[in-house]
């Protein structure tokens, strides 16, 4: 069934299809409509789910964590200030290896106050131990949320997952979205309960841990996160077999075969960059695109492999790590360092909702080409569109 849905509606339908049992959420712009939609599903009886109407995002994360620990499939939505506010609970959730899934409707962090999109909120949680998936359109939002449950709940992983899409650009913009049949999703995503808090099998969770054990827990947590990177590909394939849509694994390429200058980005900018690559190709340029679907764990090896033929890499970052540059630019440099001398051009753009169009990306492409021709080292990072 094909419907015209905005990103928030797609997320709500995904939660319904995934048979989410507990939703804990606190309203925040522009993510609140997901909560409204799910509570509407509950009210009309199309979804069997308990909604915990918490008084804050901190409590939302705490309630979702508690629910997952007690054996329910749990979901929540947030962004920006709310995500920052729940930060310490994010670390509990990943440290306790609880597969909560959260839609993050990316939005800038104040100050100055902004209601508009960028990835700064989620990039700030890069060390939280959560799996982070980025979506380029509303169909991918729906599909990724369903996949996120299977990924996070996998016995080899057992980690929470953030599924990112951008405020307004995706959350409030309608696209055609294909709705998979419930039976197909049920088969793809069976409910397996693994309660940690269970009166029939009492455990003490999160006891004080000394230096002799703490680091080993962290090793296992990191190893599990790494496994998620490989597993996403398999899960996407399985999902593709069921629905006909395979978004690829951690990273996918577009027109990369003979590409010399490769744009690398994530989120809604991927769609724009795809059109820009087509336009550049039509003009005889050897442009390509690398879509980062998984930001955590960062798929360094796959990126390295796919960027092998490139003469230049262009990171397009809708975030700024103050004093260090764009998160993607930094990751790419780290992934490529020691393997190749290909220059990484790092651009900060589109912050706080500033428009980025196809012509901006083609302009950046030309700037990079000029830089290459001049043989200059690229700057650590540069701002575009000020």
């Amino acid at each position: 069934m094909r419907l015209l849905l905005n990103g928030n509606e797609a997320a709500a339908h995904a939660a319904r299809l995934a048979r989410v049992e507990v939703l804990a959420s606190y309203p925040i712009t522009p993510a609140a409509p997901v909560m409204e939609k799910i509570t509407q599903f509950i009210a009309e009886g199309t979804m069997r789910c308990n909604f915990v109407r918490v008084e804050s995002d901190h409590s939302a994360m705490a309630a979702a964590l508690g629910a997952t620990m007690a054996g329910a499939r749990s979901f929540l939505i947030t962004n920006s200030q709310g995500l920052a506010y729940m930060s310490e609970v994010l670390y509990h959730t990943s440290g306790l290896r609880q597969p909560v899934v959260m839609a993050v409707v990316n939005r800038a962090l104040a100050a100055p106050h902004s209601r508009f999109p960028e990835h700064g909120d989620v990039v700030a949680q890069e060390t939280s131990g959560w799996i982070q998936i980025f979506c380029e359109n509303n169909q991918e939002v729906l599909d990724s949320i369903i996949q996120a449950f299977r990924l996070g709940e996998d016995e080899q992983v057992r980690l929470p997952v953030m599924v990112n899409y951008e405020g307004y650009i995706q959350s409030h913009t309608r696209e055609t979205v294909d709705m998979p049949e419930q039976e197909k999703i049920d088969a793809f995503l069976p409910l397996v309960r693994r309660p940690v808090l269970d009166v029939d099998n009492p455990l003490a969770v999160n006891t004080v841990t000394g230096p002799e054990l703490y680091m080993d827990y962290k090793y296992h947590q990191d190893a599990a996160l790494q496994r998620a990177g490989t597993l996403l590909g398999e899960i996407s394939e399985a999902y593709g077999a069921v629905t006909g849509r395979n978004w690829g694994g951690a990273v996918t390429g577009y027109r990369l075969e003979d590409a010399e200058v490769v744009l690398v980005t994530m989120g809604s900018l991927v769609s724009t960059a795809r059109i820009a690559v087509d336009a550049l190709r039509a003009a005889g340029e050897k442009a390509g695109l690398l879509k980062i679907r998984l930001f955590r764990p960062f798929p360094a090896e796959a990126v390295r492999e796919m960027l092998k033929p490139a003469r230049a890499v262009v990171a397009l970052d809708k975030n700024i790590v103050y004093g260090a540059g764009g998160a993607l630019g930094r990751e790419l440099r780290a992934a490529l360092y020691g393997f190749t001398n290909v220059p990484v051009y790092s651009y900060i753009l589109g912050l706080g909702g500033r428009d980025v169009g196809v012509e901006d990306l083609t302009a950046i492409y030309r700037q990079v080409n000029e830089g290459l021709a001049a043989g200059k080292f690229p700057a650590l990072y540069q701002w575009y569109g000020l």
Partner: protein, 290 residues
């Protein structure tokens, strides 16, 4: 509803066992041990940062015989809300879900999640074990620390009076509200039995002295907990649907001065303050007993 009539009827089984890491004479550990007699093995407990969160489990060992989660400081009632939602959707009806916090996790940093859960009338029990100070970090003053108590960060005495958490929680109209004291175990256990039998949001506030914070001897915990009741600064009652019933009328009344003078934290207290606290105790005694 069945409640234990004598201490002899109370189950021998320990659900919070020996070998925990609390200090000798810890009022908080006593409170948990007593409460677990009533709550029983079908209980899930989560405790935010506090002495109680750490003394019951360390590394790979634990004193808890029920599922226990050491949660985060601000959000034990929210965690409990989530646990309840998860049990409900699975049709598990006979499990008590408890958030058990100290006075900071209840009245201060944890207050937001508490008022949220209370307003939603979550089907959980929130317990405050109150030692009137932040002992886990060394005993700093909090909002329920009494007026003029000396603590590491109020070296000349706390300048403001104790916040009335019971009035605040009563204003949420919980299904059940009770005060308790580790010096009156039968009363405490009966209150947990009653709370367990009621659906909805339940709040139990236990006075649980801490020898270190109070400047008393380790073997004076129970004595001081009893004297708090006898002087009227702490009263034992319960409220069901807002209707109050006093559960313990102390056999003797003592002046507040006697209670204060045993405690190192009040060593600097002046006569005017003693008189003010006496007036406060008298007022509260009249108010509660009426």
């Amino acid at each position: 509803m069945e409640v234990y009539k004598t201490l002899a009827e109370i189950p021998q089984d320990e659900l919070f066992t020996g070998g925990h890491g609390g200090c000798r004479g810890c009022g908080a550990a006593l409170a948990v041990r007593q409460a677990m007699k009533a709550l029983g093995p079908r209980t899930i407990i989560n405790i935010p940062a506090s002495c109680m969160a750490t003394i019951g489990g360390s590394g790979l060992t634990t004193a808890w015989m029920v599922p226990f989660y050491h949660s985060l400081f601000e959000c034990a009632p929210a965690v409990a809300s989530g646990i309840r939602a998860a049990l409900d959707i699975q049709g598990i009806k006979d499990v008590n879900v408890v958030s058990w916090a100290g006075d900071a996790g209840t009245a201060d940093i944890g207050f937001q999640a508490l008022t949220g859960a209370a307003e939603r009338q979550e089907n959980i029990i929130h317990v405050c074990y109150d030692n009137e100070t932040y002992m886990n970090t060394g005993g700093q003053a909090g909002s329920v620390t009494p007026y003029q108590a000396v603590t590491p960060d109020t070296p000349t005495g706390k300048p403001t009076p104790r916040k009335d958490m019971l009035a605040i929680m009563a204003a949420h109209r919980p299904a059940y509200l009770a005060t308790a004291s580790v010096a009156y175990p039968l009363d405490l256990i009966q209150k947990f039995q009653k709370a367990k039998a009621i659906q909805g949001f339940r709040y139990i506030h236990i006075l649980a002295p801490c020898f270190r914070g109070w400047g008393i001897r380790e073997d004076q915990t129970v004595q001081l907990a009893r004297m708090a009741v006898e002087c009227g600064l702490w009263q034992l009652y319960e409220e069901v649907d807002g209707r109050r019933r006093v559960t313990v009328i102390p056999e003797r009344r003592i002046p507040v001065r006697e209670y204060l003078k045993l405690q190192g934290r009040f060593k600097n207290i002046d006569e005017a303050t003693v008189a003010a606290l006496q007036a406060e105790a008298d007022r509260r005694f009249r108010e509660v007993q009426s």
